[in-house]
Symmetry: C2
Subunit: 292 residues, 2 copies
Amino acid sequence: MTDFDLKYEEYAKKFEKTLDGFCEKLDCKPQLLADSLKYSLKLGGKRIRPVLMLATADMLGVEEERVMPFALALELVHTYSLIHDDLPEMDNDDFRRGKPSNHKVFGVGNAVLAGDGLLNTAYSILFGECFNGGEYVSAAKYICDCAGIYGMIAGQSADLAHENDKEINEDILDFIYENKTAKLIMAAVVTPTILCGGKYYSELKAFGKELGFLFQITDDILDVEGSFENLGKSTGKDLREGKYTGVGLYGLDKCKIKADLICENCVKLMEGISADTSFMKKIAFFVRQRVG
Amino acid sequence: MTDFDLKYEEYAKKFEKTLDGFCEKLDCKPQLLADSLKYSLKLGGKRIRPVLMLATADMLGVEEERVMPFALALELVHTYSLIHDDLPEMDNDDFRRGKPSNHKVFGVGNAVLAGDGLLNTAYSILFGECFNGGEYVSAAKYICDCAGIYGMIAGQSADLAHENDKEINEDILDFIYENKTAKLIMAAVVTPTILCGGKYYSELKAFGKELGFLFQITDDILDVEGSFENLGKSTGKDLREGKYTGVGLYGLDKCKIKADLICENCVKLMEGISADTSFMKKIAFFVRQRVG
């Protein structure tokens, strides 16, 4: 294991401990509601958003305990979006992280409520943080707006609205990439800087956006080249269904070149910061090279 | 028109003006997303939650401009819950306020996103209010928790979990009434007291709970005795489908007696407050006697 791998694991484990504590205390009724929330939260995954938030906080000298509730809320928002996105009338995915999607286990009605419940709980956590002062309110509102109708929901809506387009338009693809995927990644790296008065705010915002694009373009590449075993979800579906993807617009080879360029941009953006940016640079390569 | 009717109309009109302003500024993309949000927000309805909030604020001497953003957020939360509740795998209602439900116009996928978008936007408005200080944070968190997994979502989940029960259990019926319906009504009357340091907090909380029960029990009665014309939605469905309703448990006549008693409780609770409670008392009769 490299130093990067060890560090990634350390952040991920710290977050997992917080998530475990949260799940243990979750005792809402009926039992089915609690079970369905926990099911999706404990499906695992790379926890890249919380890891990014903890790493950015580390780099900026923001105490871990200050960002952890925000990391938890952000992962709840991300998990809700996966549950709703997997629904039959949305992306219609039967598998998530190698296991049946929430609605395959609990039914569509309960899956809608599980998603609603995670979104609402994320904001209940964040309202709790708002008592700590203006910086906390700003950070909470930033996450909320990244997830909202001028952010992630707009991206999902555009994805749905254009699923039957005959040709892929680059502006629309960029809109979907930026909103559906990049906004929550931006939230992960921008939250810690808001909590410390905006240090390197514009660099981190730009980095989050680039890393979000990199995440989505590698996702599109993996939909073609990846395996169910590594990804834990069906592959080849996007191209088959003529969905808006980078591969659909540029072709596979050009997509890889674009991904490499975006990865370089991420590194360059971190070079403008006078702090220990080694982990942040490496996470760009990690996203570029991932197979699952 | 009685004084009560005139006052109700005045509150409702003020709220409608705020809602119109909000809808005018709504310019999220794609257009379909903006259209679907506005469609459900502008379907009308009695606006009982905002009216209750404005009336309670009036009674307590809390300035209208302080509660109005909370009234707006609460109506957004209520509207999201109707959109998701009407979905085919939930209550499966094709009509709402006499017009096609959101998913009948925009499709199920878009309706899921419209609901998500309204919920998220409600909290974005409330995070904006949190900059004004601790009382505002408390009020925002109260609304969020009333809507959440220990509130409205728990009620909806229980409603769904028990829809195939052979017999109706009174404890479960009370749980559904309290959480699915009463919690948002409680939020309407509790928000203004939180914003003025908790004056008559326990009386108003108890009043909100009773009024919520009254609202749901009259809803159950109207499902049997009401008309599509007045209600704007299908009737007779709950009993036919063996859903958890007061009529199903107590029978129609006992239900009406129960409703009268709850209405009396509402009035009694307001008699414990040394302020002008005439509107609050009359709104209980209004809920009891409504036909739509």
